[in-house]
C-alpha cells in the first residue's frame, strides 16, 4: 500500500472514530452515571463512569493527537510533490512553464532533460516555505494565510534571496561544472552568496509580466499541464 493511500485511510478512519467518540461522550451526562454497575468491554469490566472517562480521554486527547500527527505528516510529505504546489493557482504558471517543451526557462530545461526525476519544485526550493527550517515554515504558514484569505496580489514575488546551495548541491563537483573556467573564478562569490547562479543562467520561471493577470500569457500559463 502506498504511503498516500495509507495516510488517506488512517486520517479518515481516525476522523470518523473521533467524531463517533466525541458524539457519544458529548451527549451523555456523567453525573447520574453509576460507579457500582459494570460494563464489559471484551474481558475488561468498567463502571459506566470509568468507561465514560476513558472514552472522553480517547475522544478529546488520544484521537486528536493521532489525527494531528497524521495530518501534519500529510502536509510535510505532500508538499514535496509538484501537484501540491499546483493546487494554488498562483503557482500554476511556474508548473505549466516547467512542463512546456518549448520553454527555455531553467525550470523547463531541468524538467525536459530529466535532470530532476521527481519532486522538481522541492528539489530546487527545499530551503524555504513549508519544506524549509522553522523560520521558513513560519513563512510558509504566512503564505498559506495570505492565499486562503485572498490578501495577496499577482504576480507573486519571492521576498528572499535564492540560495545558491540549491543549485550547488547537485552541480558542485560534477565534471561539466568544474570544466567551466568562470565557475572557478566566481566560486567564492557563489559560496558567499555575493553572486547568484541566476545572474548568468537566466530566467528560472516565467517573468512577472507574463504572470500578471490580463497579460497575453496569463491564461495559457494557468492551464496546468498533465
Amino acid at each position: 500500500m502506498e504511503a498516500v493511500t495509507l495516510v488517506h485511510f488512517l486520517g479518515t478512519a481516525l476522523g470518523l472514530l473521533g467524531i463517533y467518540l466525541a458524539f457519544r461522550v458529548g451527549r451523555k451526562r456523567v453525573v447520574p452515571l453509576s460507579t457500582e454497575e459494570t460494563v464489559s468491554v471484551g474481558h475488561i469490566r468498567f463502571s459506566p463512569a470509568t468507561l465514560w472517562k476513558l472514552l472522553a480521554f480517547a475522544a478529546l486527547v488520544a484521537v486528536p493527537v493521532l489525527t494531528m500527527v497524521i495530518a501534519n505528516y500529510h502536509t510535510f510529505e505532500g508538499i514535496h510533490e509538484v501537484e501540491a504546489c499546483g493546487r494554488c493557482h498562483v503557482m500554476r504558471p511556474m508548473i505549466t512553464d516547467m512542463k512546456d517543451p518549448a520553454s527555455t526557462t531553467l525550470a523547463a530545461r531541468h524538467f525536459r532533460n530529466g535532470w530532476i526525476p521527481q519532486d522538481q519544485c522541492y528539489a530546487c526550493h527545499s530551503d524555504y516555505g513549508l519544506a524549509g527550517n522553522n523560520a521558513a515554515k513560519a513563512e510558509g504558514f504566512r503564505h498559506l494565510a495570505r492565499y486562503t484569505t485572498g490578501t495577496y496580489q499577482e504576480p507573486i514575488a519571492f521576498r528572499g534571496r535564492f540560495d545558491n546551495q540549491n543549485c550547488l548541491k547537485c552541480h558542485r563537483g560534477t565534471p561539466l561544472f568544474e570544466a567551466v573556467k568562470s565557475h572557478q573564478t566566481v566560486r567564492p562569490l557563489l559560496e558567499e552568496k555575493a553572486m547568484l547562479c541566476l545572474n548568468c543562467h537566466g530566467q528560472p520561471h516565467p517573468t512577472s509580466a507574463a504572470r500578471t493577470p490580463g497579460s497575453p500569457d496569463y491564461a495559457r500559463l494557468q492551464e496546468l499541464r498533465k
Binding site: 495516510v7 488517506h8 486520517g11 473521533g18 466525541a22 458524539f23 458529548g26 486527547v61 504558514f141 486562503t148
Partner: protein, 62 residues
C-alpha cells in the same frame, strides 16, 4: 467531572475539517486545518486537562 459538551462539539468540528483536509489536500482545507482545526484540538485538550485537574484537586487526589 463536569460535562464536556462544548469540548466534544469543538472536537467534532475539528475532526470534520481534518477528514476534509486528508481527502482533499488543497490550500483552503489546509488553511482550515492549520488555522482552525489544530487550534481547536489544542483548546479542546487544554480544556479537558483543566477539568480533569480540577476534579482531581476537588477530590484531593492531587
Amino acid at each position: 467531572m463536569s460535562e464536556l459538551r462544548a469540548e466534544c462539539m469543538a472536537a467534532i468540528v475539528a475532526f470534520v475539517i481534518s477528514i476534509g483536509y486528508t481527502l482533499s489536500p488543497g490550500p483552503y482545507w489546509m488553511g482550515a486545518f492549520t488555522f482552525i482545526a489544530q487550534p481547536l484540538f489544542v483548546l479542546v485538550m487544554a480544556s479537558y486537562l483543566v477539568k480533569v485537574l480540577r476534579e482531581l484537586r476537588g477530590r484531593r487526589v492531587l
